[in-house]
C-alpha cells in the first residue's frame, strides 16, 4: 500500500475510534452467539462420503470431448533473453496440436497484483506472461505444447530448441540486502513503528536478548497439483480450476481477456489443498490462451517440478529480535526488524512483524520490515504468511530472555500481555491468551518441565519441553455475497462462490444456516465453488468463514423482510415488524411472543410461491478497524533429541487456542492440527533449496523437499477457550492459519530445553544439534 493509503487507513481508524461501538457492524453481538444449536456441534463433513470414495471431482478430472493436454517448458536461465527458438521438431511430433511461445501467444496485459483496494486484483505476479523473449526468473514458462495425450505433449516439449543469452541475475540474499527497500506499509498497517528509543532502552536494561533468526524459503506443496481444464464456447470461457479464489479469478480473467464478466465461469467445487498457493498464476492464463488458439479444450496439470518453478512460496527471512526487560520482567524495549525477499512484481510482503505488533506491551518499540529484490518467481502468501515465521523469531527470543532471567517463560509472557492493542491503543474485541496459557499448561503438564536445560535424559535421548505463543489477526472481507433461497417444501439453499479446500466450508456454513434460519441441518443445501453464484471472497487470511457468515446474516435479515411481505395480513405474524421477529422452528416467530409463528412452507404456499430468494452482501468490515481483533494460542511441545545423532522426535504437541466461537469442533480440531503439522515441517524439515549461484530451486520434488510424513507426526492435542468474539459474525474469528503459528518456536524452545543448544535458523536439522 502507498503512503496515501496509509493515511486513509490511519484516519479511518482514528475516526472509528470516536464512533460508538453499537453503530458498527458487530456493534451488538450476533444474536446467534447465544442461540447455537447446530453450530458448535460435532458434525462430520457433508462431502466426506464423496471424498473417501474418490468421487469428489477435482479440476483435472473433468472429462471433455476433443480434450488436448498441455505441457510447459521452463527457462533454466534466471535472467536474460531467448536468442534462438526452434519449434519445428515439436510441431511435427506425433499428436501435437499447438506449440505456443511468445511469438504466437496472444497479446495480453498484465495482472493487477493482489491488493486490498480492488477485489478483482488477484495476481501473484505483475510480470508479462509470455509476451516477449525476456527471461526474468529461473523457471519462467517459455513455451507450451498441446497434444492429444499427455505423453505426446511431454515428449514434444523436450523437442523445442532454445538458446538463451544469460545476463547477471540478482540471486544472493546477503548481497541484495544493501539495496533493500523499506515500504511504507505492510498490508494495511504502517510498516515502520517507532515508539520511544528502543536502542537506548536496550543498552541500559538489566536484561536483554538481541539475536538474528533465519528462516528459509518454503513451498505450499498441496498434494493436488495446480491444474485446470478449460474450454472456450465462442466468446464464453469455462474454467475448471483448482483455485482458492473462484469469483475473483473469474473477474480478473474477464478483464484480462477482454470478456464480459458473465461470460467467464470458473468452477472449483473441490480444491486439493491450497494454503495460499492456489491463486491466479501464469499457468491458468497460458492454458486459456492456448485453448483459444487451438480451438480445443485444454487440460493443464503442472508437474510437481512445475509447481516449484512457477508458483512462489514463503519468502526466506533474516529477522532481528531484541527484547529488554527491567528487574520485574516488564519489557522495556521490543525490536523486530528484518529482511525478506519481495520482488517489485510480487504481492506478498511476508508480514513477519505482525504478531509482534499485538502480542506484548513494551515501553519502547522499533519495528520495520525491509524488502529485498531478487530475480525469482514471486513469493506469495503461504499459510499464516509472516506470522508463521515471525512468531518463530519473537517467541524464541522471549524464551531466551526468560532463560537469561531465570523466569518461567509462561510467567514472563503473562507479565507482558497488553490490556489494549500496544500500538494502536484500540481495545481488544476479546482476548484471552492468558487463559489459553493457563488451560494449556495444566493439560500439558508444564510443571514437569525442568528449567535447567539438558538435564533430562532417557537412554540415548534428551528430553525437552517448550512453549510459544501463536497469533493471527481477524479479518473479514468486504464484497462477500450470499443468496438464500427458501423452497416450497420448507428447505433452503445457500449459494455463494466460496471454495472448499478441506476447511469444511460447506459443513460449517450449513450448520450456520440451520441455526440462522431455524431449520434442521438436513433441510439445507449449500452450493459453492462456482463463479456464477453470488461472489464470495477468496479463501485466504482465514476470513472465508466470517465473511460468508456476515453475508449470510445480512441475507437472513433481508429474507425476514421479504417473508413478512409475502405473509401479508392473513398470518399470526400480522402487524409484526422485521425487528420484532426472528427465525424459529422452520419459520418465523415473534421475539416477544414466540407463539405467533408461521412456517416457511405455509407462507410460501399461501403466497403461491415455489421459492423465495434474496441475495445480500455483508456489511463493511469496519469492526476490525475499530477493535483490535486477534486470535492467539499457546503451543506446547514435548520432544526428544538423540544424544548420538541429533535427530529430533516430537512426542507431544498441544495447542490451546483463543479464536472466538468454534463452529464445528471436529473440523476445527482438524484445521488446528493441520496447521500445527505444517508448523512441525517448518520447524524441523522443510526448506526450499535455492541455489544462489544460479537462482534455481534444486529440490523441486516431494522426495527432496521433506513435508512431515506420518511417523513425524505425533498425537496432537487441541483445546480452546471458545469465548465468542462479540464483534464478529457468530463470534468466530477464523482458524485456518493460526495453527501453524508459534509451533516452530515451541519446538525450538523445547530443543533448547532438551539440549541447551539454541538453534536460530530453521529448519532444526540434526546437523545443528551434533
Amino acid at each position: 500500500m502507498s503512503r496515501v493509503q496509509n493515511v486513509v487507513v490511519g484516519s479511518v481508524r482514528t475516526a472509528l475510534g470516536w464512533v460508538p461501538a453499537q453503530w458498527l457492524p458487530g456493534g451488538t453481538p450476533d444474536p446467534l452467539i447465544e442461540r447455537r444449536a447446530a453450530i458448535g456441534r460435532q458434525a462430520s463433513r457433508l462431502d466426506g462420503p464423496q471424498k473417501v470414495a474418490g468421487e469428489a471431482r477435482f479440476a483435472a478430472e473433468v472429462a471433455m470431448d476433443r480434450l488436448v493436454y498441455a505441457t510447459l517448458v521452463h527457462s533454466p536461465v534466471t535472467r536474460g533473453r531467448i536468442t534462438r527458438l526452434d519449434t519445428a521438431a515439436a510441431e511435427a511430433a506425433p499428436g501435437v496440436t499447438l506449440v505456443m511461445t511468445h511469438r504466437n501467444m496472444p497479446r495480453l496485459g498484465t495482472l493487477p497484483l493482489i491488493g486490498v483496494s480492488d477485489l478483482t486484483a488477484v495476481g501473484n505476479s505483475s510480470l508479462p506472461i509470455m509476451q516477449d523473449g525476456e527471461i526474468r526468473y529461473n523457471g519462467q514458462v517459455v513455451a507450451l505444447v498441446l497434444a492429444d495425450t499427455q505423453e505426446q505433449a511431454d515428449h514434444a516439449a523436450g523437442l523445442i530448441e532454445l538458446d538463451y543469452a544469460a545476463e547477471t541475475a540478482r540471486t544472493r540474499f546477503a548481497e541484495a540486502k544493501a539495496g533493500a527497500r523499506t515500504p511504507a506499509s505492510i498490508l494495511i498497517d504502517k510498516n515502520h513503528v517507532s515508539i520511544g528509543n528502543a536502542e537506548r532502552e536496550l543498552a541500559s536494561a538489566p536484561y536483554r536478548v538481541d539475536y538474528l533468526y533465519r528462516t528459509p524459503g518454503q513451498n505450499h506443496n498441496a498434494i493436488e497439483l495446480h491444474a485446470l481444464t478449460v474450454a472456450w464456447q465462442g466468446e464464453q470461457l469455462l474454467v475448471h480450476d483448482a483455485t482458492q479464489m473462484v469469483a475473483a479469478s473469474a473477474a480478473a480473467l474477464a478483464k484480462l481477456f477482454g470478456l464480459k464478466k458473465d461470460d467467464v465461469r470458473v468452477l472449483s467445487p473441490f480444491v486439493g489443498g491450497g494454503f495460499g498457493g492456489k491463486g491466479l498464476w501464469d499457468h491458468q492464463i497460458l492454458a486459456i490462451a492456448a485453448a483459444r488458439l487451438a480451438g480445443r479444450p485444454v487440460r493443464l496439470a503442472l508437474s510437481r517440478e512445475g509447481v516449484y518453478r512457477i508458483i512462489g512460496g514463503r519468502s526466506p527471512t533474516e529477522q532481528r529480535v531484541a527484547i529488554a526487560a527491567d528487574a520485574q520482567g516488564q519489557f522495556t524495549a521490543l525490536v523486530h526488524t528484518g529482511y525478506s525477499v519481495m520482488p517489485p512484481y510480487g504481492a506478498c510482503p511476508e508480514q513477519y512483524t505482525m504478531g509482534t505488533r499485538s502480542l506484548y506491551r513494551a515501553r519502547s518499540v522499533e519495528i520495520v520490515q525491509r524488502h529485498i529484490d531478487l530475480d525469482i518467481v514471486p513469493n506469495t502468501f503461504m499459510r499464516a504468511p509472516g506470522e508463521a515465521i515471525g512468531t518463530f523469531a519473537l517467541e524464541s527470543a522471549v524464551d531466551e530472555l526468560a532463560h537469561a532471567m531465570g523466569v518461567d517463560p509462561i510467567e514472563l509472557r503473562l507479565r507482558n500481555l497488553p490490556e489494549r492493542h500496544p500500538i494502536s491503543g484500540a481495545p481488544f474485541s476479546q482476548h484471552a491468551l492468558g487463559q489459553a496459557y493457563r488451560d494449556g499448561a495444566g493439560r500439558f503438564g508444564w510443571e514437569r518441565r525442568k528449567a535447567e536445560p539438558g538435564t533430562r535424559r532417557e537412554g540415548e535421548w534428551l528430553i525437552g519441553l517448550g512453549c510459544a505463543t501463536g497469533s493471527f489477526p481477524y479479518a473479514r472481507m468486504p464484497g462477500a455475497n450470499v443468496r438464500l433461497t427458501l423452497h416450497a417444501d420448507g428447505t433452503a439453499t445457500v449459494s455463494c462462490s466460496a471454495q472448499e479446500m478441506g476447511m469444511g466450508t460447506a459443513t460449517v456454513q450449513v450448520q450456520h444456516a440451520a441455526d440462522r434460519l431455524g431449520l434442521p441441518i438436513d433441510a439445507i443445501t449449500f452450493e459453492m465453488g462456482d463463479s456464477a453464484l453470488p461472489a464470495a471472497p477468496m479463501a485466504g487470511g482465514s476470513c472465508q468463514t466470517a465473511s460468508i457468515a456476515g453475508a449470510m446474516a445480512a441475507a437472513a435479515d433481508k429474507l425476514i423482510g421479504e417473508l413478512l411481505r409475502l405473509a401479508g395480513n392473513d398470518t399470526p405474524l400480522a402487524g409484526l415488524r422485521a425487528g420484532e421477529v426472528r427465525f424459529a422452528d422452520a419459520g418465523i416467530a415473534g421475539i416477544a411472543a414466540p407463539a405467533r409463528h408461521e412456517t416457511f412452507r405455509s407462507i410460501l404456499a399461501r403466497a403461491g410461491r415455489e421459492t423465495v430468494s434474496v441475495t445480500a452482501a455483508g456489511s463493511m468490515p469496519l469492526e476490525f478497524l475499530k477493535f483490535a481483533m486477534h486470535s492467539s494460542s499457546a503451543i506446547f511441545c514435548a520432544l526428544r533429541v538423540s544424544g548420538v545423532t541429533g535427530e529430533v522426535r516430537v512426542d507431544r504437541l498441544l495447542g490451546s487456542f483463543d479464536c472466538g466461537t468454534i463452529l464445528n469442533p471436529m473440523t476445527a480440531a482438524s484445521q488446528f492440527r493441520g496447521g500445527m503439522i505444517m508448523g512441525l515441517g517448518l520447524a524441523l524439515t522443510e526448506e526450499t533449496l535455492f541455489d544462489e549461484r544460479s537462482g534455481r530451486i534444486m529440490n523441486a520434488t516431494l522426495a527432496d523437499y521433506h513435508v512431515p510424513a506420518h511417523l513425524d507426526v505425533p498425537e496432537i492435542d487441541v483445546m480452546w477457550t471458545g469465548i465468542p468474539d462479540p464483534r464478529s459474525p457468530l463470534g468466530a474469528r477464523g482458524i485456518g492459519e493460526i495453527g501453524i503459528t508459534g509451533v516452530a518456536a515451541a519446538v525450538a524452545n523445547a530443543v533448547f530445553n532438551a539440549t541447551g543448544k539454541r538453534v536460530r535458523e530453521l529448519p532444526i536439522t540434526l546437523d545443528k544439534l551434533l
Binding site: H74, P76, P94, N138, E151, D154, H155, G158, E460, V644, T645, G646, E647, R649, T685, L689, D691, R693, S694, R696, M698, N699, T701, A703, D704, H706, P708, A709, H710, L711, D712, T765, L766, D767, L770
Partner: protein, 328 residues
Amino acid sequence: MIPVGYVRASSLGAIPPMLAGDGHRLLGGGTNLVDLMRKGVERPSLLIDVTALPATIEEAADGGLVIGAAARNSAVAAHPLVRVRYPILSRAILSGASAQIRNMATVAGNLMQRTRCVYFNDVAGSRCNKRAPGSGCDAIGGFNRYHAILGASSACIATHPSDMCVALAALDARIRVDGPGGARTIPIGEFHRLPGDTPEIETALAPGEVIVAVEVPASPFAGRSTYRKVRDRASFAFALVSVAAGLTLDKERIADIRIAFGGVAPKPWRALQAEALLRGGPATSAAFEAAAAAELAHAEPLAGNAFKRELAKRSLSAILAELAGVSR
C-alpha cells in the same frame, strides 16, 4: 519421455541378445528407471521387463541364501530365513523408501539404482559429469548435504542411495551375473565403482550383462547385527548416514566384525580399516570410538556435508556399543 518400446523377457537366456540394441534397458519395478525417464535423465528406446524372471529366495548348500534378481524388496525383507538369519538385511530394506515402493522394487533394480544427487536429476538446469561426462559438477560448491565424504573424486561426489546394498556389503554378498561373456560372480565390494574420472561408469556390470541373483553367504552375525539409518525425516527419506554392523564376541573380545556405511560414499562403504582395528581387540566404547575415528580420518568433507564425519563416527560407536552390550 521419448517413445519407448516394451517387451517382457520370458527367460534369462533370452535377455543378453535383446540387450544388444542401442538404448535397450532392463526394467524391474520401474521405481527408479521410470522416474528418471520422466526426468529425461534416462532415454531408453526399448524396455525389457525382467520382473517375470526368477524371484525365488532359496537356501544354498553352504547355508547361505540365493535371492533371485527379480525378487521384490518387500518379499526379501519378509522372508522367514532373511528375518531369522539376516535381520540386518531385512531391516535395511525396511528402512528404505515406502511400503509401496518396496513392493515394486526388485533386488537387481535396487542394486542398480542411481544417485539421488539433485543436480544429476536436473537435466535442464545443471551440469553433471555423471549424466553428461565432462560437463562439470554443480554439486561441488552447491547443495551437497546428501553427498559423499569418502571415496569421492573431483569429478563426482554423489552417493549411492541404497539401504539394501549397505547390508549386502556387510554380509559379503556376491552378485551373480550373466551375459555375452558368460556367467560370473562379482563380490559386492567390487560391484559398485568409485567415480574417479569416469563417474558415468557406476558398476562392474559389462555391457549386455544382466544380474541373475544375489548370493548371501552364511553369516555368524545374525544374533548381533543391526541396521541404523539416520535421516532428515523420521521415515520415507534417504539416509544421511546409515550403518550396518554385525559382530561376534569371544568373552570380552571381538571375534569377528563387519561394518558398512551408507550415505557417505559413492558406494556402500565397507569400513575395512575399522574392522581390522577391532577384530580380536576388546569390545569397549573406547575401542569403538577409536576405530570409528580411524575410518573417518580420511573423510573429505564439503561445506554441506561436513557434519557427516561426526555423525558417522557417533552412529558407528553407538551401534557397536549396543551390539556388544557395553554401556557408553
